[in-house]
């Protein structure tokens, strides 16, 4: 019985199989590279998620709100007084160290409008209406500790409307901060209406 001869390893390979071999090497290198990058980047993220699951939110998790309001040099987060998430909406009340100076006090803001902070009374009608809607929305979403529109306008609070969008004149999304610098309270509302 005649058997077909085995191909010689030393024999010259045809050009097509040479290119095929190169393609295999390229694909393997790309695959190894991708897997390495994926593992290296995924591990810290997975570790963070794991840590987040076993620990409750920490005050330092909210320092981004201080950065957002440009008050990270004036105060720091002492504790999380309240936090509520509902779908894409997030409401937070933070106890912050009372401000050493009165730069954020509404009386000072009348003149300076520092870093976007304003007393509610100086906002135009549209922005003031947005703040009012956001306060009502937060409270109706169960964040009963969130200031009412009246409290926000009382004179002790300053407001920073970071971003807002209106769809046919109606509030569609708003991201704002309310701060009572003397009482050491910072409120954040991040609302996305679908």
């Amino acid at each position: 019985m005649n058997e077909a001869p085995l191909p010689s390893l030393t024999a010259p390979q045809p050009a097509r199989s040479k290119w095929l071999a190169r393609l295999h090497v390229l694909l393997r290198m790309a695959g190894i590279f991708t897997l390495t990058v994926f593992l290296l980047s995924a591990f810290p993220i997975l570790w963070k998620i794991h840590q987040h699951r076993i620990q409750s939110a920490q005050p330092e998790d909210f320092t981004h709100l201080l950065n957002q309001g440009n008050i990270n040099l004036k105060t720091r987060v002492e504790r999380i007084a309240h936090e509520q998430k509902q779908g894409a909406n997030e409401f937070v009340e933070l106890a912050i160290t009372p401000f050493a100076d009165t730069a954020l006090a509404p009386s000072a803001l009348d003149k300076t409008f520092e870093n976007g902070w304003r007393p509610l009374s100086t906002l135009d009608a549209s922005a003031a209406s947005l703040v009012g809607q956001a306060c009502r929305y937060a409270r109706s979403a169960g964040a009963s500790w969130f200031p009412t529109e009246e409290t926000a306008a009382s004179g002790s609070m300053s407001v920073n409307v970071w971003s807002a969008s209106l769809k046919h004149g109606e509030m569609n999304a708003v991201n704002l901060l309310l701060c009572d610098p003397r009482a050491g309270r910072l409120y954040s509302a991040n609302i996305r209406i679908r």
């Binding site: 694909l27 695959g31 906002l123 549209s126 922005a127 970071w162 969008s165 209106l166 046919h168 004149g169």
Partner: protein, 181 residues
């Protein structure tokens, strides 16, 4: 063992192939973005009447209104963050005035709401008055136009993006500015 190793390599090669494909797609997307930012992709008067439906949809009147033709259209180039200023002037065959006002999406001037006023100022700040058929700010303030604001983005009290539509019943023209900074 040999078979397992072979399948392992096939898996690695598949991942490699997919990642190379993704890299190619990303390169194409970057090239597309770069093309979008170039002055070559600005399009003037390139829209067809059927494109008007999408614009009418912004105002919620796509089923009841009918556009005859585009008198003017300009689609500007995009920046990396999507900054743009597009202008459209439509000659309308039919505009459902009462239905539009009843829907609450359209309103008659003069505008009382500061956000709407700022949105108009913002939209007109892109040099719209220089384009053919576009009304001046004074005309917008004085004439009994109908206004619609499908989208307004605010940063603080400053408008950073807006879609503004206004209709002139006298000339039966619909003006639209879609801009973002």
């Amino acid at each position: 063992m040999r078979a397992v190793r072979q399948w392992l390599w096939i898996g690695v090669e598949t991942i490699g192939g997919l990642s190379l494909l993704c890299a190619l797609l990303m390169a194409a997307a970057i090239a597309w973005c770069a093309w979008g930012m170039s002055p070559y992709c600005e399009k003037t008067n390139s829209l067809k009447p059927r494109d008007a439906t999408e614009i009418l949809r912004w105002g919620g009147i796509e089923h009841t209104a009918k556009a005859r033709r585009f008198l003017y259209s300009k689609i500007s180039r995009r920046s990396l963050t999507g900054d743009h200023a597009d202008f459209f002037v439509l000659e309308m065959e039919r505009f459902p005035r009462h239905a539009a006002l009843e829907s609450g999406q359209w309103m008659e001037g003069p505008l009382a709401d500061p956000a709407s006023q700022k949105a108009v100022d913002f939209s007109m700040s892109w040099g719209a008055e220089g384009y053919p058929d576009f009304p001046s700010r004074k005309e917008i303030a004085d004439q009994p136009y109908l206004f619609c604001f499908p989208w307004i983005n605010l940063h603080g009290q400053r408008v950073t993006a807006a879609i503004v539509m206004f209709y002139d019943p006298a000339s039966k023209r619909l003006f639209v500015v879609d801009s973002k900074t």
